[in-house]
Every structure is written in C-alpha cells, then in structure tokens.
C-alpha cells in the first residue's frame, strides 16, 4: 500500500466517470500551459502558413490572406497526454479541408511544423474530413502566444501534442516522419480512447 500524504487533495480535478472522458484522464477548469521552449513571438506582418512537400504547387498565405479564408467556430473536448482534459473548448479556425481544397496528392502522411522547431506527424486522413483546423481564436479571443498564438493546429480527436502550437505549415510526405515527441517515447498515433500515450501502447 503506497504512502498517501494525509489531507493532500492536489489541484482541482474531476475523475468522476464520464463517457466523455478517455481512460486515465481527469477534467480541469484552467488551461494548463505546456512548453518545450521559449514562446515564439511572431509579428503578424511576418507570419505565414505554408503547405509544401508532395504537392504540385506549394501554397502559402500571409496573415491577411489567411484571415480572408472561410472560418468555422467549433466546440471540442481536448485531451492532453499529461492526463488533463477540458470539455467544450471553443475555437475559431480555418478547416484544413479548406486549406487543402483542390490539392492533388498521393501523400499519405503529414508533418505539422512550427515556429521554434516543434514537429508532430499524422496520417493525412487524420487532418481531413472535418477533423482538423488551423485555429487563431480561443473562446472568442485572439489566441494567446503561450497557448500557441498567432495560430495553432487543432486536431482534437488525438492527444493534444498532435495539435502543434505556433504552426508554420504542413508538409505532405509519402513516408511517416515521427516528430519531436514521437521520436522520443510518445506514441506515433496518439488515440486517447485507446490510451496510446507511449511507444508500445
């Protein structure tokens, strides 16, 4: 029987069983900030988003061009591999389907790459069909830099490390390329419902 610190509750977390909570997760009220490095500061005038790789003609948007694209407001549950989940988070973003409209590619995989050097990898089918957005507002407010602003990926059906902050672009690739955490113990796919946190899960 391991030691329990008498009277210690820890931060507010709700493990009450809910069919909305994936296994091993708890619900939080705040929005924890996790970071692997300094927060990039990208002035809007210098920001761009690109789609490159296995594509006939790479695409790119400046901030002004990006903000002219059709946007969606979505409400999603998000799940971090460090075990916290948040229900009903509100985002405004451009669907990846919009960004890939008309793109002809044989690529099966995608690498999300960010300002600051972070990368994460996914099958292309996990960012298409209404599953992924490039989000620039959280709860109706411009996305704060510590949460990934000016824009981040939002791929809520996977653990949140698959939603790269400070997104710079997507690279379409024929072969899967494990990203920053996938190279170092974190699961290559990351389905919270199958609790795919680490290698071998």
């Amino acid at each position: 029987m391991s030691f329990i610190s008498r009277g210690f509750r820890g931060k507010r977390r709700d493990t009450a069983s809910s069919s909305r909570l994936p296994p091993g997760q708890y619900l939080v009220n705040d929005f924890p900030v996790l970071s692997a490095g300094p927060t990039p500061r990208i002035p809007q005038a210098e920001w761009s988003f690109v789609i490159e790789g296995e594509i006939d003609k790479p695409r790119s948007w400046t901030w002004d061009e990006f903000r002219k694209l059709p946007t969606e407001q979505v409400t999603k549950d998000i799940h971090c591999v460090t075990k916290w989940s948040k229900f009903d988070t509100g985002w405004t973003g451009v669907s990846v389907d919009t960004l890939l409209e008309g793109v002809d590619t044989a690529a099966e995989y995608v690498v999300e790459f960010s300002y600051g050097g972070y990368t994460t990898n996914l099958p292309l089918e996990d960012v298409t069909g209404g599953k992924a957005w490039v989000a620039f507002e959280f709860d109706g407010q411009p996305l704060h830099p510590e949460h990934g602003g000016p824009a981040r990926m939002l791929v809520p059906h996977l653990y949140f490390w698959k939603s790269a902050k400070w997104i710079r672009g997507l690279r379409l690739v024929n072969e899967d390329q494990p990203g920053f955490w996938e190279q170092n113990g974190y699961n290559n796919y990351g389905d919270p419902w199958r609790e795919q946190r680490y290698w071998g899960d």
């Binding site: 692997a36 927060t39 460090t82 830099p145 510590e146 955490w181 170092n184 113990g185 680490y198």
Partner: protein, 90 residues
C-alpha cells in the same frame, strides 16, 4: 522577459533529482558540449523546461535542444543527441 516566459524556464538544478535517477550519480556538475554550437556548459546551467509532456533541455548559448526525457509505463526515453559529449567524474 514576460511573466509567462519566465515561469516556464528553469535550469539544470531543477532536474538534479531526475538525472540522478537516470545516471545513478550527481550530474549537475557534468560538462556538456553542445552538438550544435560547440559551447560547453555545466549541467547546472543548462536551460530546462519542465512543463511539457517531457523534460526538454536546451543549450544556454544557442537554445538548441540538447536533451529530451520522457517517463512513462515504468520506462525512461532519453534523447541526448544535442550533447556531443558529456564529461563527468565518478
């Protein structure tokens, strides 16, 4: 530096316990040569981000990632590819 940035940024002292778990000895005085810029820093001085899905260690001179440490399922995954050479005495 903003409050948010500084909150996240620590130094090698903060992973003294973790490194001792992995190396079975005190490591904050070890000297690491950065694989990117070649500068040598004591582990006690490296930049450490603890609030991530894992620990990230960066070079204080060039900010390149020197180490990543992930713990889970009873294992450690340690990437030291950003350290060309680690010098320490037993």
């Amino acid at each position: 530096m903003t409050a948010q940035q500084s909150d996240m940024k620590l130094d090698g002292n903060a992973i003294g316990g973790l490194l001792r778990e992995i190396f079975a000895m005190e490591m904050t005085m070890a000297q690491g040569t950065c694989a990117n810029c070649g500068k040598v820093h004591m582990v006690g001085e490296v930049v450490v981000y603890l609030h991530a899905p894992g620990v990230v260690v960066r070079c204080p001179s060039c900010d390149n990632v020197q180490m990543k440490i992930v713990q889970g399922r009873g294992k450690y995954w340690v990437d030291m590819s950003g350290v060309r050479c680690l010098e320490f005495s037993v």
